[in-house]
């Protein structure tokens, strides 16, 4: 019997390069990522963020989002995730200290800065998950049938970059202050200062130092008139996050590495460039374009003709012509006389001169047969537009419709509301105090309309009739119902309804 003796080959001498082996860093990064993403605060934050986003996005923008607004709406939710990541990554960096395993880890192949890099990579993974959520939210808005406009990638980056910034801050904080109570206390202070300082609303460049910068108004502008330094702000945020991360690597023993020092210098330069870029205010070309869009919008409009109506809109809103046409056709179908096929121009207008800082009303159009439509749609904007169309069909022009103070108000409101699925609910929505009795102001993109108690009473009576009967009565008495200076009592008489008892004085 022969025995074969095999000698195990001697292990090849390991020539590990000085510094971290990237395989070890990536292995540790994978472990830290798994740990970080399954920490309770992070899980709770992601759950709440996703649930809240889904809940809001179902009904946001009344189903008709302008994507240049929808991109900004993705910025606030990730801050919650960012705070949870700050807290959890801070605790993760302090873990080895808490369990007194620092000495054991010190003998491993990985230098201390390598472990910091692994923690920073886990923050990057959390930012990536946030980016997926932000992308999902924006894609949902963009896929809604009523979506128009263009989103800005820089605005979409703000959410993930905030997570990166806050997470990087958490790592740096753990290296600076080793007490476990530092991070929670600091979060409370940050939150408090953030809410308190936004109450003061510092204008100008200082407000752009915050991660997410909101706007005061809800006006929707064409995307080239927004004038937010979004790209500079994303650069600033990214640079700031990289600065904090590079500082963390330098602090944990990476100061000898030339790459780390170069990265820190580069990140500081990026931050400064971003901060200077974002503080320069609205560029002059945008200001000029805003004036042009507000004063002479017809030079920018593209017009589409449908039946007897021409729809002139900013190019980004062209896909919405169909929705406007449906509303106009509903009103026209109920009208009598020549109002059914009189030519009408629907002109989109916007007051862009004040940017996103203020919501201004528009002056009514004086040319006959022209109706204003705003940039928002859906919800209350639909009956509001229907009232404007009915006002022009009855009185001839928007300017005269705004001064309306006689029995024609009943006809205008009935034309606008009777074609709607729930007229009385829409009546409440267009009235400023949400009432359906008594006198009230009717909201409008231009001049508001006034309704007296008597007119409201008569309108409610007319809306209670079956629609076909009411429509027949309105068409039969069209000439008299739309005659200037017709009294409310006379309108009641023409329609064969009871004389209203409420007061009938315009204020």
């Amino acid at each position: 019997m022969t025995t074969a003796t095999t000698t195990a080959p001697a292990p090849a001498p390991v020539t590990s390069p000085p510094g971290a082996s990237w395989a070890a860093v990536s292995a540790l990064a994978r472990f830290e990522t798994r740990k970080l993403l399954t920490r309770v605060p992070v899980l709770v934050a992601f759950t709440v963020y996703v649930a809240w986003t889904v809940w809001r996005t179902r009904v946001s923008f009344d189903g008709f989002p302008a994507l240049q607004d929808a991109d900004r709406a993705t910025q606030d939710g990730p801050l919650l995730v960012g705070l949870a990541v700050l807290l959890s990554v801070n605790q993760a960096v302090l873990r080895s200290r808490r369990h007194d395993t620092e000495r054991h880890l010190a003998v491993l192949v990985l230098p201390r800065w390598g472990r910091t890099v692994a923690h920073l990579l886990s923050v990057g993974a959390a930012a990536l998950v946030t980016a997926v959520c932000v992308g999902g939210q924006f894609a949902w808005e963009a896929l809604k049938p009523g979506a128009v406009g263009h989103g800005s990638p820089a605005e979409l980056l703000v959410g993930p970059l905030s997570v990166l910034l806050l997470g990087g801050f958490g790592v740096l904080l753990a290296l600076l202050v080793t007490a476990p109570f530092a991070a929670p206390l600091l979060i409370v202070l940050l939150l408090f200062l953030a809410t308190f300082l936004t109450g003061f609303a510092p204008d100008g460049w200082t407000r752009w130092l915050m991660p997410s910068v909101g706007e005061y108004s809800v006006v929707t502008l064409p995307s080239d008139l927004i004038g937010r330094p979004a790209a500079w702000h994303a650069l600033y945020l990214g640079g700031f996050a990289l600065t904090l991360m590079a500082a963390a690597v330098l602090l944990s023993g990476g100061a000898r590495l030339r790459t780390a020092r170069a990265a820190a210098a580069g990140a500081v330069a990026l931050t400064l460039v971003g901060a200077v870029g974002q503080s320069r205010g609205v560029p002059e070309t945008v200001t000029e374009a805003r004036v042009q869009a507000s004063v002479t919008p017809e030079k920018l409009h593209t017009c589409v003709e449908r039946d007897a109506t021409t729809y002139c809109a900013f190019p980004e809103w062209e896909p919405r012509t169909g929705a406007w046409a449906a509303a106009v056709d509903d009103v026209r179908a109920l009208a009598g006389g020549d109002a059914r096929n009189r030519p009408l121009v629907v002109r989109q207008r916007v007051e862009a001169r004040y940017g996103l800082e203020a919501d201004a009303t528009l002056a009514p159009l004086t040319r006959p047969g022209e109706v204003t439509v705003g940039t928002a749609w859906g919800g209350n904007r639909v009956p509001e537009f229907a009232v404007a169309v009915a006002g022009v069909l009855v009185t001839g022009s928007e300017a005269t419709a705004g001064e309306l103070c006689d029995g024609r108000t009943v006809t205008v409101m009935w034309l606008a509301l009777a074609g709607r699925p729930d007229p009385v609910a829409d009546l409440r929505r267009v009235r400023i105090d949400d009432s359906d009795t008594g006198s009230a102001i009717v909201v409008s993109r231009t001049e508001p309309l006034q309704m007296t108690s008597a007119q409201t009473e008569l309108l409610r009576e007319l809306l209670e009739l079956p629609r076909d009967r009411a429509a027949a009565k309105v068409k039969a008495g069209w000439a008299e119902l739309t005659a200037p200076k017709v009294t409310t009592d006379r309108v009641a008489q023409v329609l064969g309804l009871e004389k209203p008892e409420g007061e009938n004085e315009c204020r």
Partner: protein, 236 residues
């Protein structure tokens, strides 16, 4: 054992011995109280309470009440570390029950906490100061929740240093509560709101519940509950 006439009724030697043990415990317990966390929480809390006054200009009641809420949360986050005791396992055998040891810790901290809270309330300008009693109930609830959480972690998990986890949970609760609590509970209202009184009825209920939970969790369980699967066949 004969009872001498000088000793008051019920003042048995056992009780006396216990009191002696408590008195000897004061110094070591005071040494293990995490004063750094408490002082840091208190200092940041005072800073938050002072922000409205420091910012100059007119202070709204909204700013006043929220400054005090931030201060109370800072204090509660510091207090979440109160029951941290790295030597818990080795000192578990002292002849004083856990509830007394915990109570001793709280008793050591409560007087400075009361003085601190008075200072915080006085830091808010008078015209913006919310009703002191009501806002104190809010602060006490936060503090009681922190202590209840820490006591729970000690009782159920046997944690030596529950502070970090409890502070994280309290912070998550504190951030999410204003966002997620139903509006009709009116917990986070501003003075002058018609629902302020209702809301503070709810705060009192919450405070009672937190105190009760803290009291229950402070007692030492008669038998340590463990998962059945973790037990060895010899039931050790």
């Amino acid at each position: 054992m004969p009872v001498t006439g000088i000793r008051a009724a019920g003042d048995t030697p056992v009780r006396e011995a216990r009191r002696g043990a408590l008195l000897t415990l004061v110094r070591p317990v005071a040494r293990t109280v995490p004063w750094r966390a408490l002082v840091a929480g208190g200092a940041l809390g005072l800073l938050a309470a002072a922000v409205p006054r420091l910012s100059g200009g007119e202070v709204t009641p909204w700013a006043g009440v929220n400054a005090l809420r931030a201060a109370a949360l800072c204090c509660a986050l510091g207090a979440a570390f109160l029951l941290d005791d790295p030597a818990r396992q080795t000192t578990a055998a002292v002849p004083v029950r856990r509830v007394l040891r915990h109570a001793l810790r709280c008793a050591l901290v409560l007087p400075p906490a009361a003085a601190w809270w008075t200072a915080a309330v006085l830091l808010v300008p008078e015209e913006a100061r919310p009703p002191a009693g009501d806002v104190t109930v809010e602060a006490a609830t936060a503090l009681a929740l922190a202590l209840a959480g820490a006591a729970f972690a000690v009782r159920r998990l046997g944690a030596d240093r529950p502070g970090q986890g409890v502070a994280a949970s309290l912070l998550v609760t504190g951030v999410l509560a204003p966002l997620l609590t139903p509006a009709d509970w009116a917990l986070f209202t501003v003075p002058g709101d018609p629902r302020w009184a209702d809301g503070h009825g709810h705060w009192r209920l919450l405070l009672c519940a937190a105190l009760l939970a803290a009291a229950v969790c402070c007692t030492e369980p008669a038998r340590r509950r463990t998962l059945r699967t973790l037990r060895s066949p010899s039931r050790t």
